[in-house]
Symmetry: C2
Subunit: 210 residues, 2 copies
């Protein structure tokens, strides 16, 4: 089993934090995305979709969606549970994980990929069509990120963790969103007391450094 | 338990198909999204996010992401499994379900919400910021939809179902994408033989009419 990884990028970081929380060690190989290594012929032969992270299993199967990789490890190593245990816990964590992705991670990515000079001509991930950067999309992304942070604050004012009573994969995504947002100079407002307190807690976990 | 539903929209349809495949009956109430009922005070009191579908449980909890609602029912009624059983099945179905959503459903929604006169001034779902429609986003959506359909064809040329050997939630999302794409006049190319054959099969299931 091998995990194709990239130290700085938010999606691979989600998987590394997940593995650290589970105490699972996996062989890793770094892929230089800014240098374009994910679009090389060598990497394309591993994963034609050219995205990172990609998990290659011993039978040659590849799993290349961060949350799908996490679900694989959750099924193989159920403890500690990071996708919930009861049906309602599972549903709430799934719901919040998705909201943190769609409304948070995708919004920040919209700003970053449409503004960063490194991504000129490839505002979409991996082998997706190479669309030009769009100032309009960057602006929308910034507006939606701010909206997401408001909703996150409301949620964390009412719940100790994003998915409910316990730390879960939803916290991993939300923390990664907060850190990724700094790349595009969007910071947690000082008035977001609940989020700031939660963020201090999740960032202090050893897994946050993974 | 009550499911807030909308007959025509693609996301509520995913949940209805899922329930039909499981043989589960749930009380439903129709929400008139084109008429703006999801943004009414009455609906806002049920779900401040103003999205449909929303499942309200007997204890008052709400679950308002289609796939989170499906996961709730999968946990409550595991048979027949629609999210896979073994770790690798679960991961592959999760991966493909996500790809069908991100690369397919979101792409078509990008065209529809940015072109349909009914969605002028509310190109984002529910209570998200009311962004103006964007011709650029509609055009990108059409391009990404075409790219997704190519990838779906490649997948179905190699696999009987989208998620693998058995019908799953990934097929539900993919079928809904194909039908939703017709709303924006994107049809399966005649050359996509594997997808056309798969589509005929999944559309003939009684659940497709749910």
């Amino acid at each position: 089993m091998k995990l194709y990884d990239m130290g700085l990028a938010p999606n691979p970081r989600r998987v590394r934090i997940f593995l650290a929380e589970k105490g699972i060690e996996v062989e890793r190989e770094e892929v230089d995305i800014p240098g374009g290594a994910n679009l090389s012929d060598a990497y394309r032969a591993i994963n034609p979709r050219c995205v990172v992270p990609t998990l290659v299993l011993d039978d040659g199967s590849i799993i290349d969606e961060s949350i799908a990789i996490c679900r694989y490890f959750e099924a193989m190593h159920p403890s500690p549970p990071l996708f919930g245990t009861t049906p309602i816990e599972q549903a709430m964590i799934e719901s919040w994980q998705r909201q943190c992705e769609f409304d948070g991670l995708f919004a920040v990515a919209g700003v970053f990929r449409n503004r960063s000079p490194n991504f000129a001509g490839r505002s979409m991930p991996g082998a997706a069509p190479s669309l030009p950067q769009s100032a309009e999309l960057a602006e929308r992304g910034a507006l939606l990120t701010a909206h997401f942070l408001e909703r996150l604050e409301a949620r964390l004012a009412a719940s100790p963790f994003v998915g409910g009573e316990a730390y879960s994969v939803a916290d991993i995504t939300a923390m990664v969103v907060v850190d990724f947002a700094k790349w595009v100079r969007i910071r947690l407002p000082e008035t977001h007391a609940a989020t700031l307190s939660w963020y201090a807690g999740v960032s202090a976990r050893p897994s946050a450094k993974a």
